[in-house]
């Protein structure tokens, strides 16, 4: 089990519907928490990786702006982008910069101010998230793609809209405990099932909300981590894979092949298996995404993911607690910041600092962060 790179500081802004400040100020909210958490100064940081989906930014090349505003000149900085999984791709790049010996301490900043542009502009950009030559012309959008995955899962395995609704009810339960979440109301099963359709079979509460937010993760080499940090959390395994952007290039729709492959790589590198994971954060941009994650990560056999949610096994008291911080469904989904927020939750769990949502004696945690509809899949395993 490699212990070469550790997380020594984590931070996250509150996630907002509309943040009343600029992107630099939004970034600072997560940065301040992470720097204080690590107990270092900007001068200790050797490089910064700035993760966001640039189509929402008015500022051209925000990395330069962020490095200046956060006191990170003259160290190198550059942008990392894999849409919704940008900040875990940042973790992967940060890991390799440290493991190579090039840098000792690397800061991974994720941010997105989705309200920076108008809602119509934002919708237009989302339409362009599909293949703009061959699929966008039909009027595609993210919920529609995940809806087609949901329908395929239902057909093959007999999962139902009610199973998806159970996932949202769980997310809403834990969202109420997370003071950084956008959506902090409880939801009953009937409310979720009777909501208006967005793209059938997905309805309003099967979908996460857009949000403004930032996250910040500070990584260090083993030597520096041991000097600086009382409770380093180690990166034990990393996996990353891709799949076709077009639906036509996918072998099947009842799971995400990039997630499956990334999980396999991460488990092999860490030398652990699904049964060893004590707590997980998965990319539940839609309820179906969490259900597919159960299976793609090996928490359940293909088609058996529904049993986990039906039996409450992914609740705090269950066999494998998943998204007990409310997930994207409750927290909201500020594209570039999302992966870092997931990492923060797992790091707090492994330090025994997760408060009301603490999983007792959590030793190994997993993050599953997906870009697009599984175009990019990142899985990272952490240990204390």
């Amino acid at each position: 089990m490699p212990k070469d790179v550790a997380v020594i500081g984590v931070g996250q802004s509150t996630f907002f519907r509309n943040y009343e400040g600029s992107i630099r100020e939004l970034a600072f909210e997560a940065f301040r928490e992470a720097i204080k958490d690590a107990g270092i100064t900007p001068a200790d940081i050797d490089a910064s990786l700035i993760c966001s989906a640039p189509e929402y930014d008015k500022q051209r090349s925000p990395s330069g702006l962020m490095a200046e505003y956060l006191g990170l000149n003259p160290q190198p900085t550059f942008a990392i982008e894999t849409v919704c999984s940008s900040s875990t791709t940042g973790i992967r790049v940060g890991y390799s910069l440290i493991k190579s010996g090039l840098h000792d301490i690397v800061l991974v900043l994720g941010f997105q101010k989705m309200s920076e542009i108008s809602s119509a502009d934002s919708q237009e950009r989302m339409g362009r998230g599909a293949d703009i030559m061959w699929e966008s012309p039909f009027g595609t959008m993210m919920p529609a793609y995940y809806a087609m995955h949901a329908r395929a899962h239902f057909e093959r395995y007999g999962s139902t809209e009610k199973d998806l609704a159970l996932i949202r009810v769980k997310a809403a339960k834990y969202g109420q405990l997370n003071d950084k979440a956008v959506y902090r109301k409880g939801l009953e099963l009937d409310q979720v099932l009777s909501a208006e359709p967005v793209a059938t079979p997905l309805k309003r509460f099967d979908c996460c909300a857009n949000a403004d937010g930032s996250s910040c993760i500070i990584l260090a080499s083993a030597e520096r981590a041991k000097e600086i940090c009382k409770k380093p959390v180690w990166i034990l395994g990393l996996g990353a894979a891709t799949a076709s952007l077009t639906m036509t290039g996918r072998e099947s729709l009842d799971g995400l092949s990039s997630a499956r492959l990334a999980a396999k790589q991460a488990y092999e590198m860490a030398g652990v298996g699904p049964a060893d994971i004590d707590v997980a954060e998965v990319h539940d941009c839609f309820t179906i995404a969490e259900l597919m994650a159960y299976e793609n990560l090996g928490f359940a056999e293909p088609g058996k993911g529904v049993e986990l949610i039906r039996n409450g096994e992914t609740y705090l008291e269950g066999k494998i607690p998943v998204n007990v911080d409310g997930g994207l469904l409750s927290k909201g989904h500020p594209i570039g910041a999302t992966g870092g927020s997931q990492v923060r939750t797992i790091v707090l769990q492994l330090r025994d600092e997760a408060g009301a949502i603490q999983v007792p004696n959590a030793e190994i945690g997993l993050v599953h962060n997906i870009g697009g509809v599984g175009i990019y899949g990142n899985v990272i395993i952490f240990g204390r």
Binding site: I132, M133, W134, G139, A199, G249, L253
Partner: protein, 136 residues
């Protein structure tokens, strides 16, 4: 040229596979086939990364396909607001998968995964052209 006619909102006018539109105008939905390795590509592409080569032939997608999955969309992205609801679908034509819209004439209750479909050319307002999937 010609590709600006594709779909209701066309984001790309320039491509080397613009003859796809001419084929559609004749009623043919076409893929490309690599003349070296024989791989069939839908959506059509000008280049095969495996050979790597750019000598492609047009390949007509014929017969009936099976519906793999679908969704009825109730909120459209910019430019599609007035179209809703519409149904997006993926069909499998003997190993060649086709993404598109299902016929507006189908009620959601009539749509079943596995049903037989065929692709037909759709002539749209304003001189635009596309294809749609209809019951076979």
């Amino acid at each position: 040229m010609g590709f600006e006619k594709f779909g209701r909102v066309s984001f790309t006018a320039q491509t080397k596979v613009g003859a796809f539109i001419e084929n559609l105008e004749k009623g043919d939905l076409t893929a490309t086939k690599c003349s070296q390795c024989g791989r069939i590509y839908f959506p059509p592409r000008a280049d095969c990364p495996w050979c790597p080569d750019s000598t492609m032939e047009w390949f007509k997608i014929e017969g009936t396909g099976k519906l793999v999955s679908f969704t009825r969309v109730h909120y459209g992205p910019t430019g599609f607001e007035d179209d809703v609801p519409y149904t997006l679908a993926l069909a499998d034509f003997d190993g060649v998968k086709v993404f598109g819209r299902l016929s507006k004439d189908l009620e959601e209750g009539q749509i079943k995964v596995g049903m037989d479909l065929k692709a037909v050319t759709a002539f749209l307002p304003g001189g635009q052209i596309s294809y749609e999937l209809v019951p076979a």
